[in-house]
Subunit: 219 residues, 2 copies
């Protein structure tokens, strides 16, 4: 069905142009932006909460939360200390796109922030195809999901700049072969920056937070 | 953009017609079919493995595995004792559809089977919109995903016939409020048949397997 494929291509290239505009707007304001992606329940919102707690005001943070429904995540981000938290309900769409992020950016005075965290819809497939304009794509993997995920969701693992491996505190209770997982990651995305951590125990979080601070100060 | 919306509607209604044809074909052969859906890593393939082990030949089972890439899951199902295991690689699509299932059914002599297990792509959004023709839609939830998932993925939780709550062995290590989770489920899908279980320890699996046997014998 070539007509449908053509439409999808047009949508994607229009999206990419808007993503570039979003990036230019962020750069002009000196805001470092990350696009957090993961399966449902891998711990994106928990990572945002723990990041805000550990930043403890060292960066001024805005959070944009993408969800199909509810404002639960924006409520959590605001409660955790985000200076601004905007909820985008996609109304059924399985991913955020650059238009949605642009609408959110228009509600923010970007000069007031150092770091923008965009939490995408929980999905290991669709968000990989839609650039938003963020400086870094961050995939939050989760140990209970299993060690075969890089092999099964190559599009997502191939395209990200940073990999967070969350819930490492559960490793003793799981059959998760870290070697097998890392070999799959390495084949798709050699040398990708990786942060193993646990939002529940706090282990590994400081390296992640230090990286964010360094990136935000360099932007 | 009404033209795009119209196209999506047409695709969905064409899909529904094919799903009805798939159902008729399954009914004619007396095969009970389930459509297993879940987030990546919730345990769909593990549930299939454990189900096959516990059925121990009491039903003749065919498995159709939907994945974006690899045949890892079909290999696991075949190793676990499925009489037939067919892999569908969607080539990037975030869900199975009725056309894909029809292609798989054409490769099977349905008279040789009692139960067909279709494992959808790991995704809590997209598969909800595409009927396949199965008799029961089964959602596999997983405790490490968190207790807020019914609230955040209402389309999926609303549309299923059966809910499996997997990884209950991890509950002591998680902040999972079962009451909150179940209230969310109940609001969307009152009285939905629910099987709490652990594929790792085997707890709760026999009730699930008994239900499958009962359904397959009634078809």
């Amino acid at each position: 069905m070539p007509r449908q494929i053509k439409i999808v291509e047009n949508i994607l290239s229009a999206n990419d142009r808007l993503a570039e505009e979003n990036r230019a707007r962020l750069d002009a304001a000196g805001v470092f932006a990350i696009n957090l992606m993961a399966s449902p329940g891998a711990g994106k919102t928990s990572l945002i909460e723990q990041t805000l707690a550990r930043l403890d005001g060292r960066l001024r943070v805005a959070v944009v939360e993408g969800d199909i429904a509810t404002s639960l995540d924006a409520d959590r981000a605001a409660a955790a200390g985000a200076q601004a938290a905007i909820q985008i309900n996609t109304g059924g769409e399985c991913h955020l796109d650059a238009v949605m992020l642009r609408s959110a950016l228009e509600q923010l005075d970007l000069s007031q922030f150092d770091l923008l965290i965009v939490e995408n819809v929980g999905n290991l497939v669709c968000p990989a195809s839609f650039k938003l304009g963020a400086h870094a794509s961050v995939l939050v993997a989760s140990t209970p999901e299993g060690d075969d995920k890089p092999y099964k969701y190559p599009g997502m693992y191939r395209g990200v700049d940073v990999l967070v491996i969350n819930k490492i505190d559960l490793l003793p209770y799981l059959n998760f072969r870290m070697d097998y997982f890392r070999r799959g990651v390495e084949a798709l995305n050699p040398g990708v920056l990786t942060f193993p951590l646990s939002c529940r125990t706090g282990e590994g979080l400081s390296a992640w937070v230090d990286w964010l601070i360094h990136q935000a100060r360099a932007t």
